[in-house]
Assembly symmetry: C2
Homo-oligomer: 334 residues x 2
């Protein structure tokens, strides 16, 4: 990545995913909420891990996955997030850099270990996650590189940052830096339960501090406490400059002022693991956005990137995303 | 696993694999020997890891993979091998136990970290490996649980154990215990370069100390320094009670005294990653062997287990192996 072409800096929880296949009965026996991300402490993480089947470790984290996707598409990406100086932290650092993302947040030298997310994938390709935040609780405003944020066209923040106490301050500082430099601030609501935990603050953010909002149907409905997607759509309209709402196989709706676009989802032969679908949709959209594409094209690039990541296990792209998007977009308008 | 039905105890290097996709040009630039397993030190491991693309971490180790496969088939399996008390060691321990294998070797509390094997998978599905032995060099005869070895129908040893200095003593002690208890000792030659490093000792082992020998075509040709498979076959005949020789898609040849069997390979739609093919063949063969099946059936079970593992990334089974073998073997003689 060339510093002069930094498109997006992502700020989020830096973690390693531990993926394992499980039956629905296992989730029930463990009292897990299917499809959700639940925060757990170190002791619960140990107990669940001991009960789980053999795992596969891959670097994860929502905004980190999006930055890896953006880099795979050819965009200039950087990431800010906190790991510990342990083996999992080394794996996270290696993988995000090897994906082409600039990552220079110094690891914590004491305190809890690198965060991990235990991901149980059921036969229906749904993922259910329990996250031990570990070293992520150490992220604070001192880690925000103001020059980096000022350079990025977009600062992309994950809602999950509202969970570790001091990361919120980092978030606020980054948003202020970005706006002072005339840049855009984007937020993803991350997860309906995350919205549940921080609804009032998220509404305030959406209405006053965020330029681009990413949310899926469940998240936006939770934000406005409505049942129907259309009601959420009317509520968000006008309160945020640009809202990008995703609806899985039903496609995406993009709203900017009076402009509204509806983009279809990309067909997928067999959905293997939905982990990372939203992260990669955001990556694709942000790539198009920072390249000056139309809003419709942005949403379609997001759809193609999301389709790739749900066709295999793991939340980061495996195929040559840039080539894939070029091939698919050549057949479409704009 | 029930102690009274311990079928096989595997002894080998305990390691975590780091899998990454790479082009042939990368192997050339790194001076790697394609298709081989090369031993490297910690500094080289750091340098290669830094140059590699994003990775996926999965538990590995040749004999450990075989024991995971044996357990997946329904056999009683145990493993002896040395990790460090670090995060990768915890991953290894969790995964092998979660696979149903008894594993009680205490981790080293000082010295080098848990071993890792950097596995580069090229587009032709070949794997090229560089291994940092780490804590494996701490395995010594004191780790051999004599009661466990005496209980197992077969003690299965990997040739790779000849690399770390004291593991050889562990190997010799285990073989002696097994024979004193009237049990069988099996050896896999592991890798043609491993044979190259220890040829004289391996020949001595095969001729005097081993009841079952597992080798692929390249390994057995290297052992006897011959070019043609048939020459190696004639050489091994008579020097080892039971030799199981694998030839990838050409199937396997099993020789016991005057008895010779030829078993076809199991067809595979698309070979994705050949890592673990030999390990899972051995698992299937040993499962049949300890269940008292015919030698032909043993080889076919091995072929089915090997076919499963090369159809996906990673060296441990993902499908329900017991069910798969039952289904495939129902259509075959014996």
């Amino acid at each position: 990545m060339n510093d002069r072409t930094l498109d997006v800096v992502g700020i989020g929880n830096a973690m390693v995913d531990v993926l394992s296949q499980a039956e629905d009965a296992f989730l029930e026996a463990q009292g897990m909420t299917k499809g959700a991300m639940t925060l757990i402490d170190g002791a619960r993480a140990e107990a669940l891990y001991a009960a789980m089947g053999p795992g596969v470790e891959v670097s994860g984290g929502s905004a980190a996955n999006s930055m890896a996707g953006l880099a795979a598409l050819g965009g200039g990406a950087a990431f800010i997030g906190k790991v510990r100086n342990d083996q999992l932290g080394g794996i996270f650092r290696h993988d995000i850099r090897a994906a082409g993302v600039a990552f220079d947040t110094p690891p914590a030298t004491e305190g809890p270990p690198t965060a991990r997310c235990l991901v149980l994938v059921t036969p229906d390709a749904q993922r259910t996650m329990e996250t031990f935040l570990g070293a992520c609780v150490e992220l604070g405003p001192e880690e925000i590189d103001e020059a980096l944020v000022a350079k990025a066209k977009v600062t992309y923040l994950e809602g999950y940052l509202w969970d570790p106490p001091r990361a919120k301050e980092a978030f606020v500082k980054a948003a202020r830096c970005a706006h002072e430099a005339g840049r855009k601030v984007a937020l993803t609501l991350s997860d309906p339960f995350c919205v549940e935990r921080h609804r009032a603050e998220f509404r305030d953010l959406v209405e006053g501090h965020v330029d681009l909002l990413f949310a899926n149907e469940h998240e936006i409905c939770s934000l406005y406490q409505v049942e129907a997607f259309d009601l959420a759509l009317q509520a968000v309209r006008g309160s945020c400059d640009l809202a990008v709402l995703t609806r899985s196989e039903k496609g995406a709706v993009v709203i900017e002022g009076n402009e509204v676009h509806v983009a279809d989802a990309e067909p997928v032969k067999k959905v293997l693991d939905t982990t990372g679908a939203g992260d990669l949709f955001a990556a694709g959209f942000l790539y198009g956005y920072t390249q000056g594409r139309t809003l419709y094209a942005c949403a379609r690039i997001g759809a193609v990137a999301a389709a790739e990541v749900i066709s295999h296990y793991g939340a980061r792209p495996e195929a040559d995303l840039a080539e894939l998007v070029e091939r698919r977009m050549a057949r479409q308008p704009a």
